[in-house]
C-alpha cells in the first residue's frame, strides 16, 4: 500500500486532524483489502448519517471539529429524523437529540442536504467509467449498473473518509476486469407482459440477490426500454436479499450492449434459466402474510419515490380517498415539485402522508402496535418484518392503492398467471 507524497502528508496531519484520521483509515483499509494505492474519486454518497449509536456521532463530530470539509461533491443518505417535521417519529429523546447532532455534523462537513437513498434521482449522476465512493446498497448497485460508474459497496465511516480526501482504495469494482459477469440469467420463458410490468422488477431482484449473492449477473431478455425506476427497484431488492453491487442487463445497461461485451473472458461460471415457478417462489418470499385480507398501513417509496412513481400512484388512485393510512417516502425535491404543482392538498386529503429525509424501516415511525403493512417495494418487503415488527404483504402499486381504498388486501393475480 503506497501513499503519494500528498497523501502521506495528509496522514501526518499537515492538512489538519480530520484529513489525517480519514487518510489513515483509508490507508489501513486499503492494506487490509489488498489495494496497492488510493485512487481519486469524483463524488461520494454518505450512509453514515443514519444514527446507530452515540459512537458514530462522536466520530462525525471529531471530523467536523478537526476541520474536515468534503473535497468532492457529496450527497447524504437518509437520517433517522424527518428534518422538515422534526417533532414527528417515535425516537426516544436521547436518541432523537443524538440523531439530530449526527445529521448536523455531516452538514458541517460540507455534504449536500439531499437526505435521500436515491441521490441519482436528485441530480447526482456520475458519468460512465467514473470512480466514485458511494455507500447505501441500492445507490451502489444503481451507480454501478445503471450509470456505469465504479464504486465498491462502501459503508459507514469509509464513505466520509473518501469524501474528505477525494480518495478510495484501488480494489474490487474500481478495476474494469472485476466488472465482468460470471453468471448469465436467461428470461426467455417469462412473458413479455410480465417483463414490462413494474411489479416484476422487485421480484426479479429478490430472486437475483439470493441466487447470485455477491457475484455479477448478466440478465438477458429484458425490454430495451426498461425504465430507470424498474432498474432501481431491481437493484434495491437484489442488494437487500444478497450482496449484489453490480448487475448487467443486456441491451439495457451501459456496460452490456451485448453478452459478449460483458461476459467474463473464460465464459460464465453458471447459466441460470429463470422459470415462472422460480418467479412465483420469489414473489411469495416477499410476503410474510399470504392468507386473509387484514391490512393496517400501506408504505411506498423504498428507494424514495421518484416523480414518475408518484404520478403512476396518482393515476392508480383516480381521485379516490383511502380508508387506511398511506405513507409515501420520497425526497424533498419531489415534494417541492408536487407542492409547486398544487398536488399536495388533494393527496393529503385523500389520506397520503409524505415522509422525507428518512423512511419507515430505518427509524420508528409506524405505530408500535404492529400489524400488516403492504408495499410495492422489494426493499421494504425485506426489511419491514425485522425492523418494524410488522408483517408484510407485497403487491403492485395498483394492488396497494385498491387495498388502501377498500381497507383490506385486494389482489389482482392476472399478471402472474
Amino acid at each position: 500500500m503506497q501513499l503519494t507524497e500528498d497523501e502521506a502528508a495528509w496522514a501526518r496531519g499537515e492538512s489538519g486532524p480530520a484529513m489525517a484520521m480519514a487518510t489513515r483509515i483509508l490507508a489501513e483499509m486499503g492494506r487490509i483489502l489488498g489495494a496497492d494505492r488510493l485512487i481519486p474519486v469524483a463524488s461520494a454518497h454518505i450512509d453514515g448519517c443514519l444514527y446507530h449509536g452515540d459512537s458514530g456521532v462522536h466520530f462525525a463530530e471529531r471530523l467536523a471539529t478537526g476541520g474536515g470539509q468534503v473535497r468532492v461533491p457529496t450527497t447524504l443518505n437518509v437520517g433517522a429524523l424527518n428534518l422538515l417535521k422534526p417533532e414527528a417519529g417515535l425516537l426516544p429523546p436521547h436518541q432523537r437529540a443524538m440523531a439530530h447532532r449526527l445529521m448536523r455534523a455531516y452538514v458541517v462537513l460540507g455534504c449536500r442536504q439531499t437526505w435521500t437513498c436515491a441521490p441519482y434521482q436528485v441530480g447526482h449522476r456520475p458519468a460512465q467509467g467514473e470512480d466514485i465512493a458511494w455507500a447505501e446498497s441500492n445507490a451502489v448497485v444503481f451507480a454501478n449498473s445503471v450509470l456505469g460508474a465504479r464504486t465498491n459497496r462502501y459503508g459507514d465511516f469509509l464513505d466520509i473518509c473518501a469524501a474528505l480526501t477525494g480518495r478510495a482504495p484501488r480494489y474490487g469494482l474500481h478495476l474494469p476486469e472485476n466488472r465482468r459477469a460470471t453468471i448469465v440469467v436467461r428470461t426467455a420463458s417469462l412473458s413479455d407482459a410480465l417483463k414490462r410490468s413494474s411489479v416484476f422488477f422487485p421480484v426479479l431482484g429478490a430472486w437475483l440477490g439470493r441466487a447470485v449473492g455477491s457475484e455479477i449477473a448478466a440478465i438477458e431478455g429484458l425490454p430495451a426500454d426498461t425504465s430507470e425506476d424498474a432498474l432501481k427497484a431491481l437493484g434495491a431488492a437484489a442488494a437487500s436479499t444478497g450482496a449484489v453491487a453490480l448487475f448487467h442487463a443486456i441491451g439495457v445497461t451501459p456496460e452490456a450492449p451485448t453478452l459478449a461485451a460483458i461476459c467474463h473472458p473464460e465464459g460464465p461460471r453458471q447459466i441460470l434459466d429463470l422459470t415462472p415457478e422460480m418467479v412465483r417462489q420469489a414473489l411469495d418470499s416477499l410476503s410474510t402474510t399470504t392468507r386473509g385480507e387484514r391490512l393496517d398501513v400501506v408504505a411506498l417509496g423504498s428507494p424514495h419515490y421518484s416523480l414518475p412513481e408518484v404520478i403512476r400512484f396518482e393515476a392508480a388512485r383516480k381521485g379516490r380517498r383511502f380508508t387506511l393510512p398511506v405513507t409515501i417516502c420520497t425526497n424533498r425535491f419531489v415534494l417541492d415539485i408536487l407542492e409547486r404543482q398544487g398536488k399536495i392538498p388533494a393527496m393529503t386529503a385523500a389520506g397520503v402522508e409524505f415522509i422525507t429525509d428518512t423512511c419507515v424501516v430505518v427509524t420508528p415511525i409506524l405505530p408500535p402496535t404492529g400489524g400488516i403493512l403492504m408495499t410495492d417495494s422489494g426493499k421494504f418487503a425485506h426489511y419491514t418484518p425485522p425492523n418494524t415488527g410488522y408483517a408484510v404483504a407485497y403487491g403492485s402499486v395498483s394492488e396497494c392503492v385498491e387495498s388502501a381504498v377498500a381497507g383490506r388486501i385486494v389482489r389482482d393475480e392476472e399478471i402472474w398467471r
Binding site: I25, E28, M29, G53, D54, S55, R62, D156, L158, P386
Partner: protein
C-alpha cells in the same frame, strides 16, 4: 489442538492480544440487525445462537454478511465496552475490520482480528489467548 501444538493464524489483519472464552458462530451473522449494540446480545431470531452474548469473548465466524452498517455496530460495542475480545475469521471482512480500525482511531479499546484456516476454525479450544504474533494458545 492437534498434538498440543498451538494454532497459528494465516494472517494477522489487525494486530493485538486478547484472551477469552470462544464463541464459535455456527452461521455468519450480520451485526446490523443481528447484535444489540448496547450489550452484545445476538438478537437475530433466525440465527442458531440467538440469545447468546459476545461481550468479552473471542468470536469465531466463517465470514461477515449483511449490512455495511455492521461497522457502526462493532464501533458502538467497542465504545461501550461490550465488544468481543477478539475476532477470528476464515475470510477477510471489510465491514467488521473497519469498525475496529475506526475504534482505534477514536481511542476506544479495540480488538485483534486474525484470519485462520477452515480446518483450524473447527478445532479451536474453548478458551484461548490470541498473541500479537498470530499464535493461538489454548488456556
Amino acid at each position: 489442538m492437534r498434538n498440543g501444538d498451538p494454532l497459528t493464524a494465516r494472517e494477522v489483519l489487525l494486530c493485538g492480544a486478547a484472551e477469552g472464552d470462544l464463541l464459535r458462530l455456527e452461521r455468519p451473522l450480520s451485526f446490523w440487525g443481528g447484535v444489540d449494540p448496547t450489550n452484545g446480545d445476538i438478537t437475530d431470531p433466525r440465527h442458531p445462537q440467538f440469545g447468546e452474548n459476545m461481550s468479552g469473548r473471542i468470536v469465531a465466524m466463517e465470514r461477515g454478511i449483511g449490512s455495511s452498517s455492521g461497522s457502526s455496530i462493532l464501533l458502538e460495542l467497542l465504545a461501550n465496552g461490550h465488544g468481543p475480545a477478539g475476532l477470528l475469521l476464515i475470510e477477510p471482512d471489510a465491514i467488521l475490520t473497519l469498525g475496529a480500525v475506526v475504534a482505534r482511531e477514536m481511542g476506544y479499546a479495540t480488538l485483534p482480528i486474525f484470519l485462520i484456516s477452515e480446518a483450524d476454525f473447527l478445532c479451536l479450544p474453548s478458551r484461548l489467548r490470541m498473541h500479537p504474533t498470530g499464535v493461538l494458545e489454548a488456556l
